[in-house]
C-alpha cells in the first residue's frame, strides 16, 4: 500500500510530488520538554494516513508542527521539495488545510459565510471574489452534505452539522494536503462514519490526508496507513492489517485486546478485553500488555 509516487515527470506526478510531506529527524519541545523525538516520516498523497497513540504520545503535537502551529526544535519538514519554514502563511495555506480540535464557531455567520472563510488564502487586495470561489464553496458544501444548511446561522447548528460545516470550510480551501486533529471526537457514530467517508474520498481523489484519531476501530476501518506513536516516537507504521495487531496494542497502548477480521471488509477489528475474561487456553488474536 505504501507506494512511492510515480516518477514519470508528468503533470500528475508533479502535483502528487508537491503533496508529499517529508519529515527528517523532527523533534518538538513544549514547555522545555521534548515531546516528539527525532521523527522521520513521509506522508504520501492519495492516502489517508492516521496518527494514533495513547494520550500524550505526541501525535497532536506532530500534526501541529506540520501545520505550522509549533516550530520544530530540530529537523526539517518539506512540503514537496520546499522547506515548510520557507513558506509564507498564505502560501502554506494554499497547499495545506488544517481543521484543529474544537474550533470556535464565529458569531453572526451563516453556514455559507463560514465555509467561505476557507477561500481566505486565495484572496488578496488584487484579486476580487470570483466564480471559482463560489464553485469551490458549492462543491465543498455538496461534498459534506451542508448545502441545505447554507442560510442557517452557524451558531445554531448541532454538533454534527457544525463539524461538517467546518470540514466544508477546509475543503473549500482547495488544498492538496488535508490535516485534521481528532475530527470525530464527541460526535455520533453515524456522523463519525460520514466524516471519515468524506476524507477517504478526498484521499482517493489524490489528496494527502493526515488525521489524528482517538478511536482505534475508526482508524482501522478507514486508514490506508496507520502510524502508531508512543512517548514521542513512532512505534509502528503500515497498513491497518499489518500494524493493528494485539501485540502492538498491548505494547503501545497498554491495552488487552483481541483482533478479529471484519467479516465484510477483512480489515482488523479491535475488541478490548478484560483480562479476567480470557480463557487459560490460547486464544487466537489476543495479547496482554
Amino acid at each position: 500500500m505504501q507506494q512511492s509516487p510515480p516518477g514519470d515527470g508528468s503533470d500528475q506526478a508533479k502535483t502528487a510530488q508537491a503533496r508529499l510531506i517529508s519529515l527528517r529527524g523532527v523533534s518538538v519541545a513544549r514547555a522545555e520538554k521534548t515531546v516528539v523525538h527525532d521523527v522521520s516520516l513521509q506522508i504520501w498523497p492519495g492516502q489517508m494516513t492516521v496518527l494514533i497513540g495513547p494520550n500524550g504520545c505526541g501525535k497532536s503535537t506532530l500534526l501541529k508542527t506540520i501545520a505550522r502551529l509549533l516550530p520544530p526544535a530540530s529537523g526539517q519538514i518539506l512540503i514537496g521539495d520546499r522547506p515548510l519554514a520557507g513558506l509564507g502563511g498564505r502560501e502554506a495555506a494554499r497547499q495545506m488545510a488544517l481543521l484543529p480540535q474544537s474550533p470556535v464557531t464565529p458569531e453572526g455567520l451563516r453556514v455559507r459565510d463560514l465555509v467561505a472563510l476557507g477561500r481566505h488564502p486565495h484572496r488578496s487586495l488584487m484579486r476580487a471574489w470570483s466564480q471559482h470561489d463560489d464553485r469551490a464553496i458549492d462543491r465543498a458544501m455538496a461534498e459534506t452534505n451542508t448545502t441545505a444548511l447554507a442560510n442557517r446561522p452557524a451558531e445554531a447548528l448541532s454538533g454534527g452539522q457544525r463539524q461538517r460545516a467546518f470540514i466544508a470550510m477546509v475543503l473549500a480551501q482547495e488544498t492538496g494536503i488535508l490535516m485534521l486533529d481528532e475530527p470525530t471526537t464527541y460526535l455520533d457514530l453515524s456522523v463519525q462514519m460520514e466524516i471519515m467517508a468524506i476524507l477517504a474520498r478526498r484521499a482517493r481523489a489524490g489528496a494527502t490526508v493526515l488525521v489524528v484519531l482517538h478511536e482505534l476501530n475508526l482508524a482501522a476501518a478507514f486508514a490506508d496507513r496507520i502510524v502508531m506513536m508512543r512517548d514521542g516516537r513512532i512505534r509502528a507504521d503500515g497498513p491497518p492489517g499489518e500494524v493493528m495487531t494485539a501485540d502492538n496494542l498491548a505494547d503501545i497502548f497498554g491495552l488487552t485486546a483481541q483482533i478479529i477480521p471484519d467479516p465484510l471488509t477483512g480489515r482488523p477489528v479491535c475488541l478490548p478485553r478484560d483480562e479476567a475474561d480470557i480463557p487459560k487456553t490460547a486464544t487466537p488474536g489476543i495479547a496482554t500488555p
Partner: protein, 328 residues
Amino acid sequence: MNQRSLSLPLLLVALLLAAMLLHLCAGAEPQPLSLVWSVLHGEAPDTFEAAIIRELRLPRALGAALAGAGLAAAGVLMQAVTRNPLAEPGLFGLLAGAALTVLLARLIPGLSSPGLVAPLAAAGSAFGAMLVFALVRAAGDGGGVLTPALAGAAVTAFLVALTTMISLMEARAFEDMRVWLSGSFAGLRLGVVAMVAPWALAGLGLALFTGPKLTILTMGDEAATGLGLNPRRIRALALIAVVVMTAAAVALAGPLGFVGLTVPHAVRLIGPMGQGRLLALSALAGAGYLVLADTLARTVIAPVEISAGILTALVGAPVLVLLVRMRA
C-alpha cells in the same frame, strides 16, 4: 457585494449626512438650511450667522463624526480581539490614560502645542491599555469576562483620580480643561480637526483592513493559522488601530465614554454579520450617533450647553448594565 449588503451602509451614510445638516442648522440660534447650504458651498455672505455655522458648528460636526466613527470601530476591534463583549476604550483604561497624558503635557512648556495632543493621547491610551493588561495578567487566568472589566475599572478610577488631583491643584491652569475632561466638542476649531483627521482616518483605514480577518481570528489561533493568517500580527495591527482612533477621539473631544460599547451592540441587534461588516456599520452609526449627541448637547437646555460625553454616559451606563444582565 450584492444589493442587500450595500443598502444598509448607504442608508447609514444618508442618515449621517442628514444628522450633520441638522447639527449645522440647530443650536441656540437655529439657522435655515439654505444658509447652511450656501456656507458649505462657500457662497455665504460674510455675516455673523454664517460665521457661526462655519467657525463654530462645522468643526464640531466634523469632529463628532470622526470621533464617533473611531470610538465605535475601536469598540468592535477590542471586543473581537479580547473576546470580551464589555471591551471599549473607556472601560479598559484607554480614555483615562489619554486624558491624563494630555493634561500632564499642559504642565510642560514644550509639550503643549495643539499638534502634539494626538500623539500624546496615543501614548497615554497605550499606557492605560498596558496597565489593564498587566493587571489582568497579575490576577491570573480564569476570571472570564469580568476580570478585564474590573481591571479596567480599577485602572480608570486610578487614572481619573490622578487627573482630577492635578486639575484641582492647578485649578487656574486647567480652567479651560474642565469641560474637555467631561468629553465635549465645545470650542473645537477647524485647525484642530484638520490636524487630527489624518490620525482618525489612518486608524479607521487600518481597522477596516483588519476587521474581516478578525472573523477568522475568532475561530481560534490554530484555525486562523491554518487559513494563512498570523494571529499575533493581526492582534498587533488591531491594537495599533484602537490606540490611534482613541487618541484621535480624545484629541477632538476629551474622554468620551461608552460610544465603543453602545454603538456596536446596537448594530448587532440588526442581525448576524461578520466582523468586517460589523466594523463598517458601527463606524458609520458611531459617527451619526455622536453628531446627534452633540446636536442635543447644544440644544436641550440652550443657551446653556451640556457635554456630549455626559449624554453618551447617560445612554451607555444602562446599556452596560443590560449587557451584564444578559450574560448572567
